[in-house]
Amino acid sequence: MPNPKSLLEDKPGKRVLLLGNEAIARGVLEAGIGVVTTYPGTPASEIGDTISAIAREAGIYMEYSVNEIVAVEVAGGAANCGVRALAAMKHVGLNVASDALITLAYVGVRGGMVVVTADDPECYSSQNEQDSRLYALLSNLPCLEPSNPQEAKDMTIYAAEISEKLELPVLLRTTTRVSHTRAPVVLGKISKPNLKGEFIRDPKHLVMVPANSRPRHDVLLQKVERAKETSEASPYNNVARRGKDKEYGVISSSSAYNYAVEALDLLELDFDVLKLGMTHPLPEKMIGQFLMEHDKVIVIEELEPYLELHVKATAKDLGLKTEIYGKIGHQYFLRSGELSPRKVLEGLLKITGKKPPISFESLDKKYNEAVKDLPLRPPILCAGCPHRASFYIIRKVAGEKAIYPTDIGCYALGFAPPLNVGDILICMGAGLGTAQGISKTTGAPTIAIIGDSTFFHAGVSRLLNAVYNKHRIVVAVLDNFTTAMTGHQPHPGTGVTGMQTATERIAIEKVAEGCGVKLVKVVNPFNFKEAEKALKEALAFPETSLVVFRAPCALLLLREKRQMGVEVIPFRVNEKCTNCLACIKLLGCPALALTEAKTVAINENLCVGCGLCAYVCPYKAIEQSKGSGGKTGENI
């Protein structure tokens, strides 16, 4: 998409290339959704970012909420005043939001409410690969699963409509391959959002004390029965392909459907394919009918055997002998990892006994030989990242004996050599929480690492717990003024809102003081000496202490410098270098490399001039230098 603003063009019928998440944002416009909330997280981030860029012109209220549960609550409040709302988050964000969501299902909504949860099979940028469809079962909420960007847009509108009809929030579950695939999308008509809500006092339906909750649970179950009718009649549940071979049938949803139809074509298997787009509640009658029409049914889905369990239950209920192939038992497809064209093809080969179109075995052999000693390239902190300076200082001061619980964000990458700061990582805020149990039981110096956005998201309640219970931990807040990992979204410490207007920034140090932390320091990690001193003081303090390491994200700083025409002067290795490799072995900066002659070189295309390597060099062999003669990618 050239510019998010082009999404505002009201040109129904126009065909444009959109990322799945941009398509959902367009769906927001076409559905007349008035309130959009989010906490950024891959692979969901671009939904909020796209809306943020156009919210004012579109007449939408958009916010980056402090975390996902607040996002669902704000959206749920608006939807209970009759305004259509959407809350977007990644799969693990739904865990955070689940407390609100599961009881919001009892309360219901008046305006259509869509909750987008973007799953990340293969953990491309996540700590787990949970299947969010199970939340639909847990909460009794309807669930839609688009398989491509067009459906992602259309289902956003459909979700808002059925939500209003059923008076229930609706889950829109995507995966990386839906959210982060670009495809042509045919636009529909934009509807003007209604932002004017009306609150109707109705405690029996809205105040979930036990006496009110009990009957609301039954009401919810009645709504699920109505939702089943919706599912049976849904345009997104249908036999998408009719084949001539009636022995086998395939049931599939989401990205798995795409691999399934192409694999069938490649193997020249002419099977019926039942495509399910509304996967909670499932269209049991439709599935029953499909089972009756086939002797063998193959269920192809990503992650958990969610469809398979229901298909098997339906077969049992109907007393059918249909053979059902999937993940349970023979494991024709795996429950872990992302599906791929090959995995689906191989599963189909095993089930049908067909011959493979190419010999994967010989390809694998050839490939494994070719890459056997190829170095891996895991993600790494950028050149000039202030976190590298913070980690260097932390490790230098606190050393091997200290324990470093860490958290979710770019700085999670600090666990890797040579920085080695990051000993346990679970979820947003858990670094601060686990640190308290670790410190209490080991007595070891414990430094909890947390980023600025994560601090606001999940750190404050953990910090209160530490202070009140007198846990002796050091909280190191790595504040780079942004939510860097997910694409530089604002948070309460940045002073900008989702509407892209200025607001008063909330200082982390003030929050810490307010929480009762008695030793609070703010340092710039590139002021190496001062930062070391502050951390030493914090480690010596017998109660909870907090040090803010504050310096802007290197990517943002570089972008700003480029925009303002400020020259970036890289560092260079001079003749004093003894090739001791201290810079490389202490820092692991991607701009540092070894030439073919095994001498240290700095890649000037990558160096942003932070100076950390010059600081750690024992021979003063690295200095800032202008002019020609530097090294770049092709001459290292």
Binding site: P2, R15, V16, L17, T42, P43, S45, Y124, S125, N148, T176, R177, H180, T181, R182, A183, P184, N258, Y259, E262, L266, S340, P341, R342, I358, F360, L363, D364, K366, Y367, A370, V371, L374, P375, L376, R377, P378, P379, I380, L381, C410, L413, P417, M485, I584, G588, C589, P590, L592, A593, L594, E596, A597, K598, N605, L606, T632, G633, E634, I636
Partner: protein, 202 residues
Amino acid sequence: MKIFNMVLAGVGGQGILLAAEILGTAAVKEGFDVRVSEVHGMAQRGGAVVSMVRIGEKVFSPLILEGEADVILGFEPIETLRNAKYASEKTVIMVGDERIPPPVLTLKGESYPKMDVILERLKVFSEKIVTIEASKLAYEAGSPMVQNVVMLGALAAAGKTPIKKENFMEALRELLPAKYLNVNVKAFELGYQYIKSLSINF
């Protein structure tokens, strides 16, 4: 028409996702169905990045089956080799010459593998390999940042994609900010002419 399959491989920060989006946009202008797969977030932080682009009358999967790539556009030699499993003997492999040493390698005190070694290993998959002086041409165009568009120019000249040059140019105009357009158009032309001057029959 058979689906046109390609893999774009390199390192986070090389502009691979933008190159893939330009390609996808050009395909839509050409009237085709297209799928462009991307990976964002943590994977982008200096790590290996892969994007796949599939163009045809009707496309479902955003991902390519192993051995099915028509073109591998490699922005970095090691990452090109890492994606060789998508190649067959019919695949055209275009390799940019910007070598970005993986930090894990440097940490072990090792230097970047010799280019010949990488090319030899690529040849096991396909003989149709061409290296592109992407860094030099990008400097010539005016910025080391535009290697990705040099590579796109080279791709357009190889004549393997079902997309006309003018639709590439249209896509460039649509997606790039006005102030960076000239340097990118120049980069595209330099990449294009580079391949044309080699007069290889792919």
